[in-house]
Symmetry: C2
Subunit: 336 residues, 2 copies
């Protein structure tokens, strides 16, 4: 058993965009295994947009990251040593202990996963993990998507958005449109993921571009971006449209309050429903796995990963992801 | 039977606050009664905030007012002549033909009302009419108020708001707070309607005043006002709070788009639900009457009316109502 491991600590609370100076890679001694504990060697660590919020010092729906402590978050690894009968050595496990190469974990905080042969374990950080469940719950439960709906998703080339669009198609949406931040991503959405249309939000006003791809209105909007996108979606919404508000990545690095939609009264006249949600509240995991594992394993629901190698590069991966440097799930590979 | 009647026409589309020059009082010949028609002598005509939207030329959830035509809207009257067996002379009726002293109406467009002895017929324009149903549907169905909730209503001294607050109390709210635009209205809310606390939004920032009266957070917000009130309510909301968005009177006379809430991301982190609604979509009338008529007739649910006499003064009444010149329902008395 190794005696030390490396972890990424938050050392300063970022103002605006995080910089490498806000973090430190720290070598730390591993504790002895207690009863019902195990040593997990991480294969990959997840970096996700929500983590930006936890870097601020304020509690929201979850506690903020502590300074000079490892940051938690999704990770997948292999049991290397075990004092739990339920987790023999070699078991692939998912856990939330985040940004480190090894972790000593209680059995109660670890979930074994049975990775289908056709898939990489990292799928459980993305399409079959928290981002996938977020897409599933937001689209089906919060936006209550119905067959025949026109569905718009922002941040559509991200870990969540690409799944939203494909799930919408599988569930019978009449039209699926998305926005993303580069021509390459737009092509990926249309050519690879089967979106009916997509646009690069940097090419012009979102409202105009959205009207172009959804001229008959939007019944469901899945919001990962906030800001101008949300205002445009309110403007484009059909009567009784339903919005699942999942994130607002456009504002995560903002240092001042961002302007809100100037067309809020349309929520009344169009009878819109806006529902904010956090995937952690959901109890739909078993439905999700039952539906999604076959779809993904058989290739009927595609996903992409942008992989960065080494915990040394986790901070760069995180900063890049907030800038939109990823297609699909951003994953940091930490071992084999 | 009179041969002419007087009507208020919209003659110009207001920009900003309406002025008397946007309207005309017009004398017009009454048509002969056809089969299943009746002549109604109006007792009172309703002026309501939503009418401002219909004065703009654009269709929203309803058609705009036509220029040089009488404006429709709620009215209560008495059948003066009838060619419908279902509506004998003397029947009190509710209809939507609005701003006029008499109207010739098809029986299909008229509803008879059985006014309890303790009430004035004008109650059917307010607490037992569209505004009352709006309060009922918004609070119970859209905001899904539960026993024990803290409920905040803006525009609380208006036709809808005062009913929202009292219904919330009757349905077991733990705390009921409201905002209004004068010290007199604030006193009315607390002393007459039994609100736990209220504030004058002109006295200081809404967010600060709301935090003062609802220090433990808001579970239900019934929005009649929009703008700064909506932002403050998002800020004060408890996790999983539910907002019924009914109106935005703060912006009805605006000539430029109004700034939206700068804290929209709290909708995600607090998992808020914002539901816009229009009372006309509701099918809850029979539940509403069954519950509300006894409450009102027995005086357990109070209501106020601000009455203006004469159709000549209807325009002034409407303009005054948009400025907050009313306590409770603004009613224009047009006959006896």
């Amino acid at each position: 058993m190794p005696v030390t491991t490396r972890e990424v600590h938050l050392t300063a609370r970022p103002r605006g965009e995080p910089t490498p100076q806000d973090f430190a890679l720290v070598e730390r001694a591993l504790p002895e295994l207690g009863e019902e504990q195990m040593l997990v060697r991480n294969l990959a660590v997840s970096v996700d947009p929500y983590m930006r919020g936890k870097m601020n010092g304020k509690r929201t729906y979850t506690d903020p990251y502590e300074l000079d402590e490892p940051m938690d978050g999704g990770a997948i690894g292999v049991v290397q040593e075990s004092r739990s009968g339920d987790f023999p050595e070699g078991t692939t496990v998912l856990h939330a202990a985040g940004w480190r190469e090894h972790a000593v974990l209680d059995a109660a905080r670890v979930r074994p996963v049975n990775v289908p042969e056709s898939l990489s374990p990292t799928a459980y950080l993305g399409v079959l993990g928290m981002p996938g469940l977020t897409a599933y719950v937001g689209l089906l439960d919060k936006a209550r998507m119905q067959r025949g709906d026109t569905v718009f998703v922002s941040g559509a080339a991200g870990a969540v958005g690409g799944i939203v669009g494909q799930l919408a198609r599988i569930k019978g949406a009449a039209r699926v449109v998305g926005s993303a931040g580069s021509a390459e991503k737009v092509a990926y959405l249309v050519d690879e993921l089967g979106f009916d249309a997509a646009f690069n939000y940097k090419d012009g006003p979102v409202a105009e571009q959205l009207a172009g791809v959804a001229p008959d209105g939007v019944d469901v909007y899945f919001d990962n971006v906030g800001g101008e996108h949300l205002e445009a979606a309110i403007g484009a919404a059909s009567d009784f449209a339903r919005f699942a508000l999942c994130g607002a990545v456009s504002s995560y690095n903002a240092t001042e309050p961002q302007p809100g939609p100037r067309n809020m009264f349309l929520i009344v006249t169009k009878r819109l429903s806006l529902q904010g949600f956090i995937v952690g509240d959901s109890d739909r995991s078993s439905d999700f796995y039952r539906e999604m594992v076959p779809l993904v394993a058989e290739g009927r629901l595609k996903f992409a990963e942008t992989t960065v190698d080494g915990l040394d590069n986790a901070v760069e991966a995180f900063i890049s992801m907030l800038r939109g440097g990823n297609i699909g799930k951003m994953v940091v590979r930490t071992g084999t």
